[in-house]
Symmetry: C2
């Protein structure tokens, strides 16, 4: 099965092979070297000189660590314009007394004025998703961080599906806490996430965060290049190899490739007369790692994705929650190449052309 979903991504064969390795002790120099290497490369992907902590758990745990560990705030503004923004709000409810969720229709861009109004009402923290995987929109991280700074608010950014595939400059933008998942743009298997934390965030440290996600324990152990609890060693083997591949490709080239591939998917969709799902404003743009397309008339989600999967062996994603059946999503994350993108669009085109929904356009672009 070719995975073209927005994570977990198809694995490079080097990453698959990296996992096929005998276990090593997690309190050894060998493991410490891997942890150190991964941490240093991740810092570059986040665009930070500050700490990066790798947690053996999936991205949601990273979101929770980011909010829970730095929840000594009076009021937090969470922006919800998709499933993962919604999740930030749900997590915040467990740790912060006053949570103001600034809600937009899923697929709508963020209206900065509404965010500013929420901040002005007394929030000292802002949490948002950079690349909203559920709707294929890239939210304006830089502008949001600038706005948060005006109100001196702690800024938490979910970069789970942007870091490693799109331009992220945590320190330059003034982001205090950011999160990435292993199975997205980084190209490793799922099961690890990383949280980048600057010095200022510790002013908001709340010791009543979950024990397993207590980043203070991670910080202390990182002094000896260790983790506080047993790490998922095999996934670290994979992450190390994935980051080596990134270093070899070069981050600039990697971002360029992600942008080109997603741009190609969008161009195909538009040329075919399909409609991109997200609406944009001047501050937002289409995601460079996942493309969400409205389900055209004349075919159901089950038919489209079912035939793609059963006849052609390609997995793409549908819509989540109330978007189920209304959109389909194609991931262009990780080590995906033009070949896989053309393969996917070519098979999609066959399915849609045979039903007279679109005309063949792939060769025109």
């Amino acid at each position: 099965m070719l995975l073209m979903i927005p994570g977990p991504v198809q694995l490079h064969e080097r990453i698959i092979r990296a996992m096929a390795r005998q276990m090593i002790g997690h309190r050894t120099k060998d493991f410490s070297e891997i942890l150190q290497y991964c941490t240093e490369v991740l810092k570059k992907l986040f665009g930070t000189k500050h700490d990066v902590f790798i947690i053996s758990a999936s991205g949601t745990a990273g979101m929770e660590a980011s909010i829970a560990c730095f929840s000594k705030v009076k009021r937090i503004t969470c922006i919800d314009n998709g499933k993962f923004g919604d999740r930030l709000g749900k997590i915040a409810e467990r740790y912060v007394k006053e949570v103001d969720v600034v809600r937009f229709e899923w697929g709508e861009p963020i209206d900065l004025e509404r965010v500013e109004r929420s901040l002005a009402e007394g929030s000292d923290a802002l949490a948002f998703v950079h690349n909203e995987t559920s709707t294929g929109i890239l939210n304006p991280a830089k502008e949001l961080a600038r706005l948060a700074k005006e109100y001196d608010a702690l800024t938490i950014m979910d970069g789970i599906t942007s870091v490693g595939g799109d331009y992220v400059a945590m320190d330059d933008w003034g982001i205090d806490v950011a999160i990435v998942g292993s199975q997205k743009c980084i190209g490793a298997p799922p099961g690890l996430c990383a949280v980048a934390v600057n010095d200022r965030a510790w002013d908001f440290y709340n010791e009543k965060c979950p024990f397993y996600l207590d980043l203070k324990a991670y910080k202390k152990k990182l002094e000896d290049w260790q983790t506080p609890y047993t790490p998922a060693v095999s996934l670290f083997f994979a992450l190390e190899e994935a980051l080596k591949i990134i270093e070899e490709e070069g981050l600039e080239n990697r971002i360029k490739r992600h942008r080109e591939l997603s741009s190609f998917v969008r161009e195909w969709a538009l040329k075919a007369g399909l409609e991109l799902f997200p609406k944009l404003n001047e501050f937002s743009s289409y995601s460079n790692t996942v493309t969400a397309i409205k389900m055209p008339e004349g075919i159901t989600d089950k038919e489209l994705r079912g035939e793609l999967k059963d006849r052609y062996g390609i997995l793409i994603s549908g819509g989540q929650e109330h978007l189920k059946g209304k959109i389909f999503r194609i991931g262009t994350m990780g080590n995906v190449t033009m070949r896989e993108v053309v393969t996917t669009l070519s098979c999609l085109e066959r399915i849609l052309v045979k039903r007279n929904i679109i005309r063949p356009v792939l060769s025109e672009i």
Copy 2:
């Protein structure tokens, strides 16, 4: 390096190969089948007909889920006779207002009377470690559960290093919540844990548990054989294979092997004139999965474990926290065989005999 530490354990080559597999979608029938298979086999290892939830995180997260999710209790008694008992207390402090830690010297057996006194003072929950990895003692799970039942207390058992390697009968013993880790007796790599939960535990459900560890979300998703957040798919491949190996061996045979191997280590130690670390009473026994031996005079921890590692390529564990340098620990967990045990003891014996600390006894047993 031969891993003879009490987890992560050496991996069977079938388990290594199982991970070397291309990624699959986590919302597919293929993944659901793996999740279902793993869940069903784990139930047998726990000795339960109730729910088992697999979390993509290490054992400590399972301990936290067990306490946090079922923390609607007035007062919890936590038994600490080792590092992991101590950890249970530390986790409980984050979720339960009144925590009574019944402390014993690490290595001492549990005095049931002291536990009963604590329960009698008004605890409606009891948390304890079955097999205390840090000291090599097997705590009396059955008796503790019986005692808890007398006081109608919720019973939480950390079975991280017993389930899959020693006899555990959660339902028969009256344990409400139990935990296992993937990288111990089950023989898989680290990064997954599982929590078994009976119906009664839900009376104590606290919705203010961590979002990522909220077992209610796991329960809901398990109806469709899914996980609420992206699972560590590659580790599930490994867990599936590890559980197949267990099914092929047969749980009874597996427990017998664990008992024989640990018994062999103890016999060697005693014959050599070394002293086992844990003290026992009538209710406790030596661990069947890890053996803790006092560091003999005439050699330091660094010399003993250093030479074993550097000259012979064998990794065993030292003592943790204040036991550092005072004991060494040999794991006999997972798919370890007599060959590896003899190898380890033989090399240990060479190191100790050459320093005139013991005489060679391995061939006598």
